[in-house]
Amino acid sequence: MSTKKAGAKPDESSIDALINLSDKLKENKAKSMSLTDVIGVAELLTSSLQPLLRQIDSTIHTELRSILLRIEGLRHEIAKVRADDISDHQIPEMGKELSAIVEATEGATNSIMNCAETVLEIETDNFEDYKQIVSDQMMTIFEACSFQDLTGQRVTKIVQTVEIIEERINLLCEMLDMGDEDKNQAEEELNANQKRNKELLLNGPANEGEGVNQSAIDALF
């Protein structure tokens, strides 16, 4: 905030009066100053600072007003991000979708494994009976595989929601002018549990073309 603006200077008559008084005091420097002289200096100093103080007051007012307008603008922009909608609806909805996916895949896997175990454990010498059991179990496997269609639809919904959230977070970062420095600081502020997970847990399956294959691992051993 700058206070060095035109018009902030004391008027010339005050300056002249101050110079005169200063000269007068220098001439009488060996003698003690009277109370009247001290009051006179104080009055002159105060009056000479008045224009400057008025200018500072006006500058502060202008600066505060611009800060207020900026905050007001940010409030409108943040309202557009609709953070409450994300936390109240979109994230809980995603959680439900993910739970449903876990349940569906677990259910399907168990059904398929049950069938496989049933087939592996068939103890009959009758070929027709054997064929019938295998056929029934294969049909159950086909039915269980329908989970892929349902979970695929749920995953698509989640991806769409994540994209919306990403878009809104990017918007917020742009509004707040968040740079790499802010992001690095946020990284440093990860809590102990998150740090532990980051250090000790792996990131899960590698994508196609990433990571090393079993042969490369075997070579390490």
């Binding site: 494994m113 496989a116 175990e117 000790l200 792996l202 090393v212 390490l220």
Partner: protein, 127 residues
């Protein structure tokens, strides 16, 4: 240590489905004496009560990871030489090296089949 199909094996994984898959793969190649645990902490409890000749563990588990379990197993004089195979979906070289330095005997990347599992067990037991 010679390979014995009746040897006690401990599978450690937080996914019941994965435990079931490994159990069936082991059964397919002849191993039937199999116990399981849902994470490192539970595995240590099992190991404290029973001697296992082979531990097959996932890496990503809470509250104790497979890597932490491996280090604890190696730190104990009773289990320091127990064969330990790490099974994980992640295959970054640095993780494999970290596990090797911690004393893992072999490392399998998911998904895998019965032959791969048998091959690693054979390799660990020098068959």
């Amino acid at each position: 240590m010679a390979l014995d199909v009746s040897m006690p094996i401990l599978i450690v994984d937080d996914y019941a489905t994965m435990i079931r898959i490994i159990r069936n793969l082991l059964k397919q190649v002849g191993f039937t004496n199999v116990d399981d645990a849902a994470d490192g902490t539970q595995a240590l409890e099992r190991i404290g009560k029973k001697k296992y000749d082979l531990i097959i563990s996932d890496w990503n588990m809470e509250p104790m990871t497979g890597y932490e379990l491996l280090k604890q197993v190696r730190a104990s004089s009773e289990t320091a030489r127990t064969p330990f195979i790490m099974v994980t979906a992640e295959s970054k070289t640095e993780n494999v090296i970290a596990a090797k330095k911690a004393g893992v005997n072999n490392y399998i990347v998911k998904p895998f089949n019965a032959q791969t599992l048998k091959g690693k067990i054979d390799a660990v037991f020098g068959e």
